[in-house]
Amino acid sequence: MKDHLLLFNFVTLALIAILGILTSLKFKKNELPWKIIALYLIGSFVTNVITYVFWEMKWNNLKILHIYSIFQFVSFSAFYWSTTRNRTKQLLILVFSGTITGLLILNSIWFESLQDFNSMGIFISNGTLIVYSVAYFFEVLGAEVNAKKFLIVNAGILVFISESLVVFLFGNFLKKVALIDQAVLWYTHISTYIIFLLLILWNHAKLDRIR
């Protein structure tokens, strides 16, 4: 089972690398949301590699999850900030995300140990991202074609973030369960992440065709 999970991880890593390169091409010419996605993918790639090294070295890699969940929250918040042109919405995202990022940092320092899953932190940050994602859907429901450019990416984020919220909410409980019994959850998690990455690829290819 460990081998299967490793294989899945390598597939994910390869996909992130390909997507990272694809979205980084013509970086300067790309629109801001794509630049943010490119940076997020690069960050994800680095995190995944470090996590793998920690795992191989049998070190506790949960402290990386603490940092990664903050990084992911900031990246996706920046993505939603950049997709709207409404100043009020931008300000709201800025205030909410700034406050929650601060709370996540405080949570990792004082409340949830770096040796454990930051379940509460992930619940709050992913919950906020779900609100952003649903709000984006409502915003583009009857909007001009131009505003619908990131619909597929947004659908991917919503699926992945919702799934992550559930898995990591029970993270600390799962630590007590044998790996074989929790396999289905981690396979689902990696599969959802792969689907999310494929949706980014699809959206990117679709946009390239429009260009």
Binding site: L141, V159, S162, E163, V167, F170, L174, K176, V177
Partner: protein, 273 residues
Amino acid sequence: MLNSTESAENITVYIALILFAVIALVLVIILLFFVSRKKIVSEKLEAQEMKLKHKSDLVRYNIETQENERHRIAEDLHDDVGSQLNLISLGLHRINKIDSTLDKEETEAILLITEGVIDRVRSLSHELLPPILEKFGLVAALEEVEFNYNKTNSIELVFKTNIENEEPIFDVTDRLYLYRICQELIQNSLKHGKAKLIRISLLNQDGDVHLSMTDDGVGFNVDELRKGKGMGLMNIENRVEMLGGTMAVASTLHEGSTFDIYLPKKANREKDN
């Protein structure tokens, strides 16, 4: 560690069930969104099409009313006002000859004014509905336009055609609408394009008609023009549409513009209408 105890297994199954339920719920939300969006977009498109159709119908109605009015005013000017002015002129001539007590200079001046008014009425009537268009056809009318513009020496207008017999190609409405299109295009080139050279070609291509107008004016942004379509362009487009044709516009800033209008064979146009 709980190992693979039954309770741990059960709880993991519950978590998995919650997980799948959440994923399913999210997928349903996404599906609902895409279905609603499709519906909203199609409703919006329908409303937009209705609005465009209404606008287009309004312009068509305006064009038809305008043409009828022009026709009526031109006929009234020519047949009624023109004839009566001619009678006044003849009467003045007669009085001038038979009544020696009248001040000759004054009657000559009145005669001159009357003849001036007669000329002005005639030219107004011709502008509204060129008799040459009805009597000799579109090619002759456009040749007259070419002659009149070149006479002014302020611009050069070149008209070319390969049409010798108009009858199998145009009917009365075709001629009138194509003439109006040319008038509008020339006016636009002069007014907005500040053109100095205008080339018009009217070609018969195996029964299909290709009307082309090119100028050396300041040019414009085609996309912007389409977005903020003015009445002039809309009139042209509607006339082309009413003739069952299509129009292509190309323009380069500071180099000029080209309008290409294509009309299918007369028989096909009649069939479509």
